[in-house]
Symmetry: C2
Subunit: 205 residues, 2 copies
């Protein structure tokens, strides 16, 4: 029992540090030794707990990235308030953590999709699954918004979802290095403008 706890603790430490370094330096550009050095652990420890570097990463995706996405981007947009407000607030918060250079979901994912695209189909599948989950939940939120009378019934829910996701992933790349805070402000302001244009018109039915 105690052994199992220790095992979990060590694996968790490795995964957290692993994600941090993979995110900062990229997967292929981060060696297992880099991670191990950070934790003062040895190769033996690593291969005792994980089959391979790839297996290690997949577990990080499933344990850390998926959970982060749920807490940051999915749970906040559930509920029956105005979907557009929920999404706006959600992005506001997510981008704020991004400004402080913490691990937010968008850039992490954008990063890795870039990196693995065309190279590692196995990992790409996992990453695409995550995107898909986000998309599905966004579409659902938008359809709730239509149903509840907040969003114009004529808009294409999937289109809005794709557009909004693109914008979010894009701004995260764009916030790198240059005045992230100012860019966040400008971005959010235009997002609101866009949302205003798809909200339910008073005169419509």
């Amino acid at each position: 029992m105690d052994k199992n706890l220790k095992r979990m603790a060590t694996m968790q430490r490795m995964q957290v540090t692993g994600l941090e370094l993979f995110y900062k330096k990229g997967y292929y550009n981060t060696s297992i030794d880099d991670i191990l050095k950070e934790l003062s652990l040895s190769k033996g420890a690593f291969y005792h707990h994980f089959e391979s570097k790839e297996d290690f990463f997949v577990q990080i995706v499933q344990n850390l990235i998926v959970r982060k996405m749920y807490t940051m981007l999915i749970e906040p947009i559930e509920g029956h308030d105005n979907s557009l407000d929920l999404i706006t607030n959600c992005f506001e918060n997510a981008l704020e953590t991004a400004v402080h250079n913490e691990l937010d979901f968008g850039f992490v994912l954008g990063n890795f999709i870039n990196e693995f695209n065309g190279k590692n189909p196995e990992i790409m599948k996992h990453l695409n699954d995550i995107l898909k989950i986000w998309e599905v939940n966004l579409v659902a939120a938008i359809q709730r918004g239509k149903f509840n009378g907040y969003i114009d019934r004529h808009v294409d829910s999937e289109g809005v979802a794709v557009f909004v996701m693109s914008a979010y992933i894009g701004i995260r790349i764009f916030m790198v290095e240059n005045a992230p805070s100012a860019r966040k402000y400008r971005f959010m302001s235009q997002l609101r403008q866009y949302f205003k244009s798809i909200q339910a018109k008073p005169e419509t039915v």
Copy 2:
């Protein structure tokens, strides 16, 4: 004289193939040998023409990427027609080449910014310069649009530029693998929606 021509031709071949592979597999994940193998050239040839891998890449950025950006994203939005139409058409074309998996500018840049961020400040400087050039030209186009009465004078030109650039870079990442053509269509449709919301209102002034 003839020697110089041959030199230029070989360097050009190396750069074109280099960009192709760097784009497909990433900079750090593409070895010089990979490029050389593709061209049936030797290490000697490479280091005869370029100082280092980094120097090689910087030259690719300056010779190929910058030029591609001008022809794809800057020249098409110059002129005094409706800026929003110009940008729309420009994106339509750029994304169409993207659908066919050719080298379009947006993803190439997004890719590399992701890859070099935090790792190679020297190269990041070059990449950020390119983004800046694009941004400046977009802002200029939007301001022309205001001046010519196509765009609502109250909108924040820089905000629109940031938003539009984000969306473009984002959709390019998002078009990877999953139904790029359908996503392009949905994206463009929402972009038009957004543009409609910032165009000059008939009743204004």
